[in-house]
Chain length 272, copies 2
Amino acid sequence: MKTIEIREFHTPSSGIFFRARRRLLSERTPYQKMELYETDSYGRLLILDGLVQTTEKDEFFYHEMLVHPAMMSHPSPKDILIIGGGDGGALREVLRYSVRSAVLVEIDERVIEVCRERFPGLAVSFGDPRVEVAVADGNRYIRETDRLFDVIIVDSSDPVGPSAILHQKSFFAALKRRLRPGGAIAAQAGAPFFHLEHLNKKRLFLRALFKSARYYLGPVPTYPGGLWSYVFLSERIDPLRPLRRRPPKKLRYYNLEVHRAAFALPEFFKDR
Amino acid sequence: MKTIEIREFHTPSSGIFFRARRRLLSERTPYQKMELYETDSYGRLLILDGLVQTTEKDEFFYHEMLVHPAMMSHPSPKDILIIGGGDGGALREVLRYSVRSAVLVEIDERVIEVCRERFPGLAVSFGDPRVEVAVADGNRYIRETDRLFDVIIVDSSDPVGPSAILHQKSFFAALKRRLRPGGAIAAQAGAPFFHLEHLNKKRLFLRALFKSARYYLGPVPTYPGGLWSYVFLSERIDPLRPLRRRPPKKLRYYNLEVHRAAFALPEFFKDR
């Protein structure tokens, strides 16, 4: 049987490879190149502009650590905004709580359509009556809306292509204005081992913008270096206390011990 | 320029690849196949029996987390034994403390010779007067010696080839007999995301053998899934308290916060 080989470079001369039984889809959307493969080891694999976004087998590492630290640090998160996250994974995690509303703002409608069709485990929550999907530019949405949110999740792709603006200072300043008092933001923040310089620039302006700007870490096997960073942002909440006592059931990565542990930063990644 | 491509499968259909400028060495020792490459992204890369052992760029993740949790949990580690670890990385970390003696037992003399010549940053400590190198089978050494140790580090390769015995119950029972009262063992324990079943079998017999048998985790970018596990074993010491207050200087990964954090286990890896 013919197999397809897929590779992503994590450095100019190294990276990860997958063998796929078949390519399910390859298209150029108005925003990016989207590919979908069926792999033996990781189940279905979504690639945008050449970068691994998610696989069925290991997506839980990323989505649980992107969402639960912020949700569990807030005493009562009712109205949630997700910027990006068209695959539905962050939305699924958010809806494990008794929220009132969850708005998902994804620029690329095709990502949502394809994931609803091809990643049922990820996109399981789009039909939930609490969910409102806006197909829109997240940066524009956040400047135009007058709604306020308790928790905002930034599930952007890397700072190339359509997501570049979602890594800039003006975007985070706009997010801050849409946060209710006591609200919190969690954003994916890249690979600490490979993108340290970029990360540290962003860290500087985030610390200037927010009273609490704390990076945390978690593993994601198919992401560069297997280690991913996230940033927790808030004017009032300390993500280490007080935590609510009971996480949602049936999680595969997150629990309260790993929540606290994730904020312990190794020497090379310390905030100086 | 011609480049060489090296790959290691982490599952039957996925893995990591490196491009190397040149192969510095490829030989069959009496125990295993040894290859050494010069890569752009990770510096020199050592492969034994097809598996990535160490790279200059990311070895600190592994060696620091293998050694420091045990060394920092012991109030006064004087006599240290390292089983395996012919590259010298664990030895280098051990000698950051004011130890009296460090015995390194490596079965394959060629690993030591090649690393002394080709990995000066790793093998920097072989000339230290506190070091005694025994070229011997670790399993046999531990049954024949009458010496006692405060800390034992098991820096084995994976449970295939010459290291297979170093993952078995009888070996750990023999190690226990060579531990001074209050002593501690740290052993590398595999990739939790890929080797969970094997790991859980071993966990069962280690828990039966030792009062304290605690797994802990740390990232290693070039190891399968980017996440590695280690096990701390002791009759008397709790690795979470009391810790000594000052780790050695100039570490790149380890500090006291990540020490504590490493013992927080994600749901899929919880000890049940």
